[in-house]
Symmetry: C2
Subunit: 324 residues, 2 copies
């Protein structure tokens, strides 16, 4: 189980490797929301998303002998890049198992970050069997994307920074909105805030139609999404909250929020105009909730974690064309 | 004359108001340049450019009685927003004199930041006479855009941060490329580096065809641009280096560099893809020089100041369409 001591230890291991992202704001965003809006831009993190924190935390927590044999991860997206960069930074091998129909650019990027990319055929091959075989043959350690205590500890370092940065500017009570897939980032932040800034409350934000976490929190038991495709917010679409993350979310987080795809795109356009940062749709849902659902957020200040910026130019241009 | 003591005093006044921007990097950019590329993203500064530093420094340096009467500036761009935001932060009035054909959005933004915008007709009215009349009537203090010691001191705080951040990551010798108009940012950074990181050398970067500073440095005397319009890099097009800034540049800076407009747009696309930041063309020329003119830059590391991100969505989309 992830504890605040584990999160603080992860912060120590991340020092000099992960970036301490700033806390951004704009009077124009405050006016839209009718309250003070503070944005934690994890798109500026190494590899363009918060996933580097968890990847580095997990790889650095391995014993040297185990780490030297290398790591393995399943991902076509941000977790792939986070783990690949973390392994490279430790001088160890990484194998990332990606579907053969993943975008060529993401495959190329993951390779360029030093990973050995193993492609599998979604229709004909068993991904887990392939991973188990490679792990067994080569002694690779699997780094799970969210349901893993050291990954949660790494993501929680975002929460340590939020606690300090909010205190510096006098914000002691606020909702902290977090873009939420499997719940690794949200649960890590919630644990950090519980210890360091109990007046700040983490709340997950999801795309409408993919609100498994919100429904799980409302019912008190794990709920699944009805479907897993058809959203521009691909980075945060997961089947259900994790067995490790959900009890943390359930104990510490406020009610979940959901935003439409158009609201996510509008938030991307406003982040471009007012904050000068690049967000992907799944990394913009928390800001969208802060801006467009202010009545659902308590208090006169709100903190939104902008979790990633790995977006195709075409999607970004579309967001600007429609909403900037 | 601006001294390191003035820059450090400005840093003290800016604390809690300006942002300490991070130092960003990407292995993909390193590969393009063939050396380590470090980017100081002042697009993330309050108001979207470094100009807030100089505006805040100048307004905060006024005596309370003088400041209370308000400030005035001529600008249609980033300096307007920097001064307006600085005046608002001090609770004093600002008057910004803008051409009546300035983009409606920039006029609206400057007003939204609390300024009284006075429009003048470029063809029929004398801007300076209008400003002098308003200053005399209302006791407003003129905040010049670059040729003003306290403005240079404010911009120089960027250099203090670069000196510290470069030392933290072990970069003691490098060229520091700076997007350069009138030379306020470049001269301020040069003074800060002289005192705090003498192995780092500031070098101005301009658009091809508007390289007055490079030619002035080469000849040792102030040279003018042949024309003042027709560049997408509007933020850094000025007639000539300042009478205060030029002697500093001439004493401390290495040779100037010039990049093409297409190189600036390519740098914007790469900053989008690899750093997740939004740059305007004039704020991207230093990164363009770092990436595409590596032979003109000494050493195995280079620092590029990305000075601003106030770009129209249309121009940004064009940069992505052509180069992302």
């Amino acid at each position: 189980m992830t504890s605040i001591a584990m999160i603080e230890a992860a912060a120590g291991r991340l020092k000099g490797h992960a970036r301490r992202t700033p806390l951004l704001s704009s009077p124009f965003l405050d006016e839209i929301a009718g309250k003070r809006v503070l944005v934690k831009p994890e798109c500026l993190q190494v590899t363009g998303s918060f996933k580097f924190r968890g990847g580095w935390s997990a790889v650095s927590a391995l014993s040297p002998a185990v780490r030297a044999r290398g790591v393995i991860a399943f991902s076509s997206g941000n977790h792939a890049q986070g783990v690949a960069a973390a392994a490279k930074g430790h001088g160890v091998a990484s194998v990332i198992i990606m579907p053969s129909d993943a975008p060529a650019l993401k495959i190329a990027n993951t390779r360029a970050l030093g990973a050995e990319v193993v492609l599998y055929d979604r229709s004909g091959e068993d991904r887990d069997a392939l991973g188990a075989k490679l792990s067994a043959e080569r002694g690779l350690t699997l780094i799970k994307p969210f349901d893993e205590p050291q990954v949660i500890a790494g993501q929680g370092t975002t929460g340590l920074e939020i606690a300090e940065q909010a205190m510096d500017i006098g914000v002691a009570e606020a909702d902290v909105l977090v873009c939420c897939g499997g719940g690794g980032l949200t649960s890590g932040i919630a644990l950090a805030l519980e210890a360091k800034a109990p007046g700040l409350r983490a709340r997950p934000v999801e795309p409408e139609g993919f609100d498994d976490v919100a429904r799980s929190l409302a019912s008190g038991t794990i709920q699944r999404n009805a479907r897993l495709s058809g959203s521009l917010c691909d980075a945060i679409i997961t089947p259900q909250p994790g067995n490790i993350t959900f009890p943390i979310l359930n104990r510490l987080c406020g009610p979940g929020l959901a935003v439409s795809e158009d609201e996510a795109l509008r938030a991307m356009a406003l982040a471009f105009l007012r904050l000068k940062i690049v967000l992907e749709p799944g990394g913009a849902v928390a800001l969208a909730a802060a801006l467009f659902h202010p009545a659902a957020v308590e208090g006169d200040a709100v903190i939104a974690v902008a979790s990633g910026g790995n977006v195709d130019a075409e999607v970004f241009r579309m967001a600007l064309e429609r909403f900037a």
